[in-house]
């Protein structure tokens, strides 16, 4: 699956989190950038719906940052 960093940033923006998109670092865990647990649940749902994938709880440690999400989905 071909996924870009911008694709993932667009999804995070769509989730309407408290993160400042202009300042959001791609290599830092989202939960350290004003994305709380409810926002993460919403982002994961939007990823599942957008890319028609199932993300099990056991894989969540691979999806902590924008870079991590891109790498994870690119393998799908």
């Amino acid at each position: 699956m071909k996924i870009t960093i911008q694709d993932i940033r667009d999804i995070i923006e769509k989730a309407e989190t408290m993160a400042e998109m202009d300042e959001l670092a791609n290599d830092v865990p989202l939960t350290e950038q004003n994305v709380d647990s409810l926002d993460m649940a919403n982002i994961l749902l939007l990823l599942e719906e957008t890319y028609d994938v199932k993300i099990p709880d056991t894989d969540l440690d691979q999806l902590q940052s924008v870079d991590g999400i891109v790498a994870y989905l690119s393998k799908k």
């Binding site: 408290m18 709380d36 647990s37 409810l38 993460m40 649940a41 994961l44 749902l45 719906e49 709880d57």
Partner: protein
């Protein structure tokens, strides 16, 4: 026509502040107020059981209507926290209220979707048996089963009970109901001694299921968002109510949010809101009731103000 004549509630006076739990769970005010949306959650008196809360709700019903106990022919209690495993809590409520011996009494063991299921059940049961007046209770005291160290649940749930008087002198009548179940995922929200909730799984289930379910019910009845005055959604959390509203693409003014002062009251959340609005709705207004949760179970209804 059988429907809801009146609704009364019992919301305990004792409340626990979530602001006092900020340090313990590393929270900020924004998370409390705008994400879970629960500032305080209600806690029943120690030793109070489900039937005691039902009795309190009924006492409040007596203050607002001239309900005659001798005329009650049906008593249903929706609860997943019964007084005992045996007997059914509705029998205990029957005894405490001194209801007549010809009054049917049974429980419905459902959680968040319980009021909508209960409403359909009591109307159908009374209609099928020629009954004129019945009582539909909702009552759950999650304070007995919540793990106070579990961030996912300790901040969220509040104790409460409601009673709906069902009669032919109804002001709200049902138009249509729809139900659903996904039993394969029951472990995502389960109580085996203490309550466990997989927050992500429950959020995903609700955000994907509830909007589709409501839209399908509207389409089945040839209705659109414009025909609906209010959407009374189960108050799971502010985040989930907001998410469903956004996915329904409906105006925020149509979707009441009413859990900040007492929390997620499970099957009581919808009748608590309806009790507040029953006199504010205008004749012919149609509203949606939609609830989702433990089971996993969901139910939606179209209800109309008829006078």
């Amino acid at each position: 026509m059988l429907g809801i004549e009146s609704i009364a509630t019992y919301i305990p006076d004792t409340k626990k502040s979530n602001y006092e739990l900020k340090e313990k769970f590393e929270l900020d005010d924004d998370f409390i107020e705008n994400k879970i949306g629960v500032k305080y959650h209600t806690v029943k008196d120690r030793g109070f059981k489900s039937s005691d809360m039902c009795v309190k709700a009924f006492e409040n019903l007596q203050k607002q209507t001239d309900v005659n106990i001798e005329e009650i022919e049906c008593c249903i209690v929706v609860t997943q926290n019964p007084d005992f495993n045996i007997p059914h809590t509705s029998a205990i409520v029957h005894g405490k209220l001194d209801l007549p011996s010809n009054c049917a009494a049974f429980d419905i063991a459902l959680g968040c979707s319980g009021y909508v299921y209960g409403l359909s059940n009591i109307i159908a049961f009374m209609k099928n048996n020629g009954m004129k007046k019945g009582l539909l209770f909702t009552s759950d005291q999650y304070s007995d089963i919540v793990d106070i160290n579990d961030k996912n649940t300790a901040l969220l749930f509040g104790d409460a009970a409601t009673v709906s008087l069902i009669s032919e002198d109804a002001v709200l009548s049902s138009v249509d109901f729809s139900f659903g179940t996904n039993g394969k995922d029951y472990k995502e929200l389960v109580c085996d001694d203490k309550l466990y909730m997989n927050g992500r799984a429950v959020f995903s289930f609700t955000a994907t299921t509830a909007p589709k379910h409501i839209k399908a019910l509207l389409e089945k009845n040839n209705l659109t968002d414009e025909d609906i005055e209010k959407y009374y959604l189960h108050q799971g959390s502010k985040y989930i109510v907001d998410t469903i509203r956004k996915r329904l693409k409906t105006d925020a003014s149509k979707v009441p949010f009413a859990m900040a002062e007492y929390g997620n009251t499970v099957s009581s959340s919808i009748p608590i809101m309806l009790a507040d609005d029953i006199n504010k709705l205008k004749k012919d207004d149609k509203v949606i009731l939609s609830a989702f949760g433990v089971g996993l179970s969901w139910a939606s209804a179209i209800i109309q103000k008829i006078k």
